[in-house]
């Protein structure tokens, strides 16, 4: 479904991604493990078109998207729930969600059913729907960010560290929901620093260090790997 081939990326003069090749197949839930600054966010921003790769190709369902604009990529079926959430703090929860469906506003039926679905996944958002997004708690904001990304009806959902800064109980709840979203047919590509929880819901995973893929394998393989245990599970 998604394939990156020998992708290089720079921010300013710094090369942040150095020859990454990876693939995500339809229906999978793939985890990208990496420490702070390893290049996870840059990788996701590159897939989303916010950053243009300096070399290499990215294809989605057979089409080259390496040069496409972010709005074109959303229309093709890739949504990113970014690090830092990037919500619209002074718009209501409902308006944030409606903006999530910006690219497919013409199909009111679809938008209404997407809204029902995200309220079913995150009932708290329905309760808070008239509140400004900026007034929500951290966990609720993360739920809103995921819900907003889902409103576009993506085939591939990119989640950049959805557990960052949240209480363990909330993290469990969000991870369960991510697994649920995947079961409903959305392919998920997830980045995390903490491997345990993420690998437990994943099919496969990659480990990224200094902008390079250093390890890949099935979720069980990675969870059993000593290096991974030491660096990303903390057991």
């Amino acid at each position: 479904m998604l394939e990156m081939r020998d992708v290089y990326c720079s921010i300013g003069k710094h090369e942040v991604i150095s020859g990454v090749s990876l693939r995500v197949e339809e229906g999978e839930l793939v985890t990208l493990l990496g420490a702070n600054g390893a290049g996870k966010s840059t990788l996701f921003k590159t897939i989303s078109g916010l950053i243009k790769p300096t070399r290499g190709t990215i294809t989605f369902r057979g089409e080259d998207i390496s040069r496409s604009r972010p709005d074109q990529i959303v229309r093709m079926g890739i949504s990113l729930c970014p690090e830092g959430r990037k919500l619209f703090p002074r718009l209501s929860v409902r308006k944030n969600l409606m903006m999530g469906a910006y690219t497919r506003h013409r199909d009111r039926e679809q938008v209404a059913s997407a809204l029902r679905e995200v309220f079913e996944l995150f009932p708290i958002l329905e309760e808070r729907s008239e509140q400004d997004a900026g007034t929500l708690s951290g966990g609720e904001q993360q739920m809103l960010a995921i819900a907003r990304a889902l409103m576009a009806g993506p085939r591939l959902l990119l989640l950049d560290e959805p557990s960052l800064g949240l209480a363990p109980l909330v993290v469990t709840r969000i991870m369960e929901t991510i697994a649920d979203i995947n079961r409903r047919g959305v392919t998920v590509f997830l980045s995390e620093q903490n491997a345990g929880m993420a690998l437990s819901i994943s099919t496969r995973g990659y480990v990224v260090e200094n902008g390079r893929i250093v390890l890949e394998g099935s979720a069980e393989e990675l969870a059993g790997n000593e290096e991974v245990k030491k660096a990303y599970i903390g057991a």
């Binding site: 989303s48 078109g49 916010l50 604009r69 972010p70 709005d71 959303v74 229309r75 949504s79 990113l80 970014p82 959430r85 990037k86 919500l87 619209f88 703090p89 002074r90 718009l91 308006k95 409606m98 903006m99 999530g100 910006y102 690219t103 506003h105 907003r148 990304a149 409103m151 576009a152």
Partner: protein, 285 residues
């Protein structure tokens, strides 16, 4: 008392003009993070276009109003595309220099073509009076026209998908791109709306004042004061701030001195920056 009411009406009318110009300035600031100092000169172009349409082409005032708005909306699009877009990721000072360049270009160009001040005739040349309070019809047209446009803009921003997209881009540009909003297109749309509003202000005000190449200069400085007073990027702030400054000026002219009327606006700016630099309303964080 009637004197006071007369001055209040003049204040509201002055404020109406300020609100229309300041709203555009604050919208553009919200979206692009730039102070579009040439906005007052787009206003000036609107007044000249009105003169050309009415006095040279014989177009009716009420038809000239929408024509000027559409023409200047396109002008705003051209300015965004040619002047500001290429400087998007450059240091702020470059944008500032570009704005000054645009001001000099527009003002010199107009002065070269027509150095003398011009005027247009009033569409309704009447004075209403009731109980000692008298009001020129044109002042009423400015007040009502501005109010209608401000309400229309408010409804557009709050109730439509494109309007919400403008707010979304202002609040988080990257987040907006990630939900599939074409941020460049929204920025063009914002310039179009803001410049059309400036044109409307010019058309409404023109029958009450002279049309001159430098007419935008003081106005844009006052609009800037209003935007700071109201809170950068806040529409609500621009509306309240605009009417406040208009009324303040009218009262200052009446009860203090008309010679120093422009001084008050800048005294307000200095005071606000010293006492409450974030402005009256919360704009962007």
């Amino acid at each position: 008392m009637t004197f006071f009411i007369n001055q209040l009406i003049i204040g509201i009318q002055l404020g109406s003009q300020y609100v229309m110009v300041a709203l555009g300035l604050t919208l553009i600031f919200g979206i692009l993070d730039i102070s579009h100092f040439a906005h007052g000169h787009m206003y000036m172009l609107g007044a000249y276009l009105l003169y050309i349409l009415m006095e040279l082409a014989g177009v009716n005032y009420w038809l000239a109003l929408p024509l000027c708005m559409v023409a200047l909306a396109l002008g705003g699009v051209v300015v965004e595309r040619l002047v500001y877009r290429p400087l998007r990721d450059q240091p702020h000072i470059n944008t500032f220099i570009a704005a000054i360049g645009l001001i000099l270009f527009l003002e010199t160009m107009v002065r070269a073509i027509q150095p003398k001040a011009l005027s247009v005739s009033k569409p309704i040349d009447k004075v209403f009076s009731a109980g000692g309070v008298s009001m020129e019809a044109q002042r009423l047209i400015v007040i009502v026209g501005a109010a209608l446009l401000v309400i229309a803009l408010h409804l557009f921003i709050k109730r439509t998908r494109l309007g919400t997209a403008i707010e979304a881009v202002a609040q988080d540009r990257e987040g907006a791109a990630l939900v599939g909003i074409n941020v460049n297109r929204i920025s063009l749309l914002t310039f179009a709306i803001a410049t059309a509003l400036a044109a409307a202000a010019a058309v409404l005000m023109a029958p009450l004042a002279f049309i001159a190449p430098e007419m935008g200069s003081v106005l844009i400085l006052k609009a800037f004061v209003i935007v700071v007073l109201g809170g950068l990027g806040s529409m609500q702030g621009a509306i309240v701030g605009g009417y406040l400054l208009g009324i303040l000026e009218a009262m200052a002219i009446a009860y203090l001195s008309s010679t120093y009327k422009d001084v008050f606006a800048f005294a307000v700016l200095i005071l606000i920056l010293a006492v409450r630099p974030t402005g009256l309303f919360r704009g962007r964080e």
